[in-house]
Subunit: 251 residues, 2 copies
DNA sequence: GTAGAGAATTGGTCAAGCCACTATCGTTCG
DNA sequence: CGAACGATAGTGGCTTGACCAATTCTCTAC
């Protein structure tokens, strides 16, 4: 968080006004006075309550929005983000752009995260969440000739697996990294081949989860990710700069 | 499906001015014109370049700061965050506060992430990163009677393990979730007992990694986290509200 | 050569106001 | 009576211009 630097001081920091806004909202959330979907008080009131100016309030609200906590709609108001727990891709994308994560590093992280998620999903066997996975597999088979559409279903399948684990923390982490994968892959997926083979692997993962076979789910997910890593390496530009480095389009 | 709210428009979105600032910086980073530690142009110039007002620029910069991309120092300037790749704890803390992650869910996610990281650390065997782990273990043994200090070393050890995996993506994820753990545990660690046993377990994890024994590293990390989960359950308030729910102090 | 004072630079904030979008509610027309 | 319409307030988005506070630089005086 932003205040971490100053937090390490030994004395009680005097909060910057903008941070004060963030903290105020944080306290309201912790106190249960603000729940997902709720509307915040108008900026003008908030400014008066905290004794700061409106531009300052707006700066704080932008910070909250950047963390995925709030969403503002002109004319309507500012709302606490609803829906399932999500971590935006922004922070990780910037990190990728700044430090140049390699494709292999990302796949390694996915291997750990998603193999675990697939195993969990098979173990807990939340049958009501199986439909989503099934639909995405179907969508993949239906878009074998449209790489972009295929990719969307691909990413959504992996998120669905994480969601099927029943663990929102895991789901949020997988969602974050899958957003990163989507951003990078969007540019190269046109050169992909063997989409059918990829769809088959996803189907096998789904079936293993559906049958509650955790070991097989893990094995299939591992195989899929290893295969995908190799396949994507060949999608690379023949002699591009930074062959394996990934920049993660933040925009 | 709700993709990205604004991105789902079919027309080339007209960026809000504040987002324009974020995008501008993002493009500079992607283009390699802005690297960690670099200083941004002054707010006033940035405002003129983009044709927006300074409060708007400031709102965008606050958003970047919230994502951990920039840091501003009054009188000095605004800088791209340097140091090792980090994901701030803010977003995950807010998610925890909003959706009430349970302790078990967090431990489950840690189990997957950190067991994988420990295994990797043992496999790659980056000996120059072993010293940090060792130091933290030493620090734990030296602070058996000071729970708060012990906790700091505890958290740092787990981050060191992730760093020793050599995978910055994994390290960033572990750092994020360990921050969450620290925030919650800070309040209850005083009631902890068996700190010595905990330190011993960390030492065994360290030794397994040091000896390059990946299987043992995974086993020891798994045991440690399972034990810690049980131990922390007993640190709970006897009859507190929300027995297993966790709010994650964002502030 | 160095230390100190002052000026320039830069982030932090405020004040007042206009614009654009949304929602609501009363009115009017079918 | 109901539905389409239109005025009206409420709300976020942004600008201009200014002042304050912390830092950094520079130039002088010793």
């Amino acid at each position: 968080m932003k205040t971490e630097k100053t937090e390490s001081r030994d004395h009680p920091i005097d909060l910057q006004s903008a941070d004060q806004v963030v903290r105020h909202v944080a306290l309201l959330i912790e106190g249960g006075k603000l729940r997902p979907g709720d509307r915040l008080v108008p900026e003008r009131e908030l400014a008066q309550e905290l004794g700061v100016s409106r531009p300052t309030v707006r700066a704080g609200l932008h910070a909250l929005a950047a963390m995925g906590v709030t969403e503002s709609r002109q004319g309507a108001g500012t709302f606490i983000t609803g829906g399932p727990p999500r971590l935006g891709a922004g922070p990780l994308s910037f990190l990728a752009a700044l430090h140049g994560f390699t494709r292999d590093e990302i796949f390694e992280a996915r291997r750990i995260l998603e193999v675990g998620a697939a195993g969990l999903a098979a173990e807990v066997n939340l049958t009501d969440r199986h439909a989503t996975m099934s639909e995405e597999v179907t969508g993949m088979f239906a878009s074998l000739s449209e790489p972009q559409t295929f990719l969307v279903h691909d990413v959504r399948f992996h998120r669905a697996v994480a969601a099927a684990s029943g663990n929102p923390v895991l789901a949020a982490l997988v969602e974050m990294i899958s957003s990163l994968v989507y951003e990078q892959r969007r540019m190269t997926v046109e050169r992909a081949h063997d989409l059918k083979e990829s769809a088959e692997m996803h189907r096998r993962i789904y079936q293993a989860i559906r049958e509650g076979d955790a070991d097989r789910a893990r094995t299939e997910m591992t195989r899929h990710l290893d295969m995908a890593r190799q396949a994507q390496a060949s999608e690379e530009l023949p002699a591009g700069v930074l062959p394996s480095r990934v920049v993660g389009s933040v925009a």
